[in-house]
């Protein structure tokens, strides 16, 4: 393809930008219809996302886990698998990293921190690999299994930090005895915390750099390595992959394990960098958002980064928007759904704005070929 890079880039960006603008316009219409003031709402949204240093830091903070859970869902899609389980993997990653982070007093940071991160990744990997293994060895469908494992993960996490007491139940192993009746873990030791790039009140930690690095590595892995080729081939045509000597079952397990590792890392970073503990109110919802991020980013790692940024900004601006204009933050969800719709159905935008299609452009993204695409 001899089209200059900038034009390809421009073409890749044009539709998403138009999609965002259209979604915002429709969101404004909805607000106006129901008696809210869209102008003030968007002013609030914008200033909450980009208005000042703290706004930017919130956006970055929100974006960080989304990059990783988005990658988690995306890498599974690449292998033709639908990982609805990022939220469970996220939680297990959190628990494992906390378990290491609150112990081993006296370890130097350069040992303790990597150890805690590794524990989180390992936990997520196992939790993700499980549905892969079940699929390969028993044929259990990954969609069912990952949904179920989400519930199991959050119950398990709840148990580990449970303060105990009622009905004679013992406290969970990670519970902080100094928290009284509150179910939560102690703070992870300073040696296991991801350092700040900019400390409070900005609270931006090095996790964001790690997440971006991981995105680049994932891009390289998927598009530039033999394993990535194998993984993608399995996703596109598993029978052809088998014919070509590729390890279909291995790739299914690998993709799910990778997905789990990424979501687990998301939980790990969020915990070691930001929350510094686990409490049941830190849900894995960001794992479900990973689906949106991955779809919005068209399952491409760099697309995932961009869409995580966009969603992060919308999330970050939501509180300010409500603060300034009184508009309920739920409208953000409506806007997110609309952006996703417009990005995923470019025909809509093209008809709307009469943008012509370049002859070599592929129009639809096919992610999975159904529940059992092999």
């Amino acid at each position: 393809m001899n089209i200059p890079v900038w034009r390809r880039l421009g073409r890749a960006i044009l539709i998403p930008v138009l999609a965002l603008l259209t979604a915002l316009a429709i969101g404004a219409l909805v607000m106006a219809i129901f008696g809210d003031d869209p102008v003030r709402a968007y002013q609030g949204l914008f200033s909450g996302a980009f208005g000042n240093g703290r706004a930017w830091s919130t956006t970055i903070r929100k974006m960080t886990p989304l990059i990783l859970t988005g990658l988690s869902v995306a890498v599974a899609f690449k292998a033709g698998l639908f990982n609805i389980g990022a939220s469970g993997q996220f939680i297990i990653g959190t628990i494992c990293s906390v378990a290491v982070g609150i112990h081993f007093e006296g370890l130097p940071a350069f040992v303790h921190l990597p150890l805690a991160i590794a524990a989180g990744i390992a936990g997520g990997t196992l939790w993700g690999a499980l549905p892969g293994l079940l699929k390969v060895y028993t044929g259990a469908h990954e969609v069912i299994v990952t949904i179920m494992l989400n519930y199991v993960a959050s119950l398990f996490a709840g148990w580990t930090v449970y303060a105990g007491g009622t009905q004679g139940q013992q406290p969970g192993p990670l519970w902080d005895p100094t928290a009284g009746a509150i179910s939560e873990t102690p703070d992870v030791l300073a040696s296991a915390q991801i350092p700040w790039i900019v400390g409070p009140p900005y609270r931006v930690h090095w996790g964001v750099v790690l997440a971006l690095l991981v995105a680049v590595v994932m891009w390289w892995l998927i598009y530039r390595t033999t394993v990535g080729f194998e993984l993608r081939t399995v996703g596109q045509n598993a029978r052809a992959a088998r014919y070509a000597g590729m390890r279909v079952n291995g790739m299914i397990i690998l993709a799910m394990a990778l997905a789990g590792a990424l979501a687990g890392l998301a939980g790990t970073i969020e915990t070691l960098g930001l929350n510094h503990k686990f409490a049941p109110e830190f849900s894995g919802a960001v794992g479900f958002d990973g689906i949106t991020v991955a779809l919005l980013g068209q399952t491409h790692p760099l697309g995932v980064v961009l869409s995580a940024f966009m969603l992060g900004a919308l999330d970050a601006g939501a509180a300010r928007m409500q603060f300034e204009s009184g508009v309920a933050a739920d409208i953000i969800q409506v806007i997110q759904a609309l952006v996703l719709a417009f990005v995923a159905a470019p025909t809509l935008i093209r008809t709307l704005y009469r943008v012509r299609r370049a002859p070599d452009e592929v129009e639809t993204t096919t992610l999975t070929t159904g529940w059992a695409g092999r």
Binding site: Y151, T166, A181, E281, A285, D315, A319, R320, F323
Partner: protein, 341 residues
């Protein structure tokens, strides 16, 4: 406690503001912000009760909504600190944070902003900060009264509780108190109770589980059911009301506020509610700020049973007397709920 709070004259915050040369804020007016726990401000539960306290206090002070007082609904537990910060940045002098989960963020903010007053609902203070009060309640006592009432009312000898989640201490306190109270009145009573099985984010917002579980308890012979857990508990209360409307002699007991006011659909069975009076307590604490009598530490808000409303006549006088006796006993310490020891 180190430095004394700047407890001087009325409107203490005003002096601070002047020092910082933020002269834009009109002099005598307080600005009051409220940060909810994850959920809604009008959740017919503790967020709403706290907000109503803010509103009532603000009206007494002649404040204007959205200018002098407003709220932020928290979307995600990670945002507690950011949401508190919104109010700090906007120059608010009183910030109410609702729910034990905001405890740490509130303490941190209070330490960083000694000139701003914080009211933390359901937040026990282990250490006293001059500008932060934890508004807490003896939920176990409230639950104890509810349990005693239930034990008096039951004909089948089985009572039930349908609860939010044991991950939230006040819910546990309600439950433990309820069971202790019931056993206090009828030692051999059969109590069946269960917490919502799901994760925290669903525990208070799953009315269908509450309703189905209440039905399950009714099927097992329970005839008084205590519903404690936001929408989940409300679902249970409404299910019992349905049975009552269908002619069964069953009762339900609400939680937190007088649910007769907030949940009309449960009127058919709602004998009372195990209240913790958040609203008047919040009003009182805000007025303390206004009057300069604010003191850091823990503030125990009152708990009580709600009026019986339509069931006033159906409750025998002996029962009312016994409840009054128990309440007195709980207050003077002669009766203990056994919780938290």
């Amino acid at each position: 406690a180190p430095a004394a709070p700047q407890a001087a004259a009325p409107a203490p915050a005003e002096g601070q503001q002047a020092q910082e040369a933020e002269a834009t804020a009109p002099a005598a007016k307080l600005k009051i912000g409220l940060v909810t726990d994850v959920g809604r401000v009008n959740d017919r539960s503790f967020n709403q009760s706290a907000w109503e306290g803010v509103v009532q206090a603000a009206q007494q002070l002649g404040l204007e909504e959205n200018v002098d007082y407003k709220y932020i609904e928290t979307q995600d537990a990670k945002d507690y600190a950011d949401n508190i910060q919104q109010f700090i940045d906007a120059g608010y002098q009183v910030i109410v944070t609702v729910g034990f989960a905001l405890g740490e963020a509130t303490i941190a903010a209070a330490k960083e902003n000694p000139d701003i007053y914080f009211i933390g609902v359901d937040q026990f203070q282990g250490e006293t900060l001059p500008n932060l009060v934890g508004l807490i309640f003896h939920e176990d006592q409230s639950g104890f009264l509810a349990g005693a009432l239930a034990a008096h009312l039951t004909k089948t000898g089985t009572i039930a509780a349908v609860l939010g989640t044991d991950l939230v201490p006040p819910v546990v306190a309600f439950k433990e108190g309820y069971e202790a109270g019931a056993r206090y009145v009828k030692p051999d009573i059969n109590i069946i109770s269960t917490y919502h099985p799901g994760e925290l984010s669903q525990a208070f917002t799953d009315p269908e589980w509450g309703a189905a579980t209440a039905r399950q308890a009714l099927d097992q012979g329970a005839d008084v059911i205590f519903g404690a857990g936001g929408q989940t508990g409300n679902g249970a209360l409404q299910e019992v009301a349905t049975a009552a409307e269908a002619g069964q002699e069953v009762y339900c007991i609400g939680v937190d506020t007088d649910q007769w006011e907030t949940l009309p659909a449960a009127h058919a069975c709602l004998v009372s509610s195990a209240m913790k009076l958040i609203t008047p307590s919040v009003v009182d604490l805000i007025m303390q700020v206004h009057n300069g009598t604010f003191q850091g530490g823990n503030y125990y808000g009152p708990v009580d049973l709600a009026p019986f409303h339509d069931f006033e006549d159906k409750i025998p006088q002996e029962v009312k007397d016994d409840l009054a006796r128990i309440k007195a006993g709980l207050e003077d310490g002669s009766i203990s709920t056994g919780y938290g020891q």
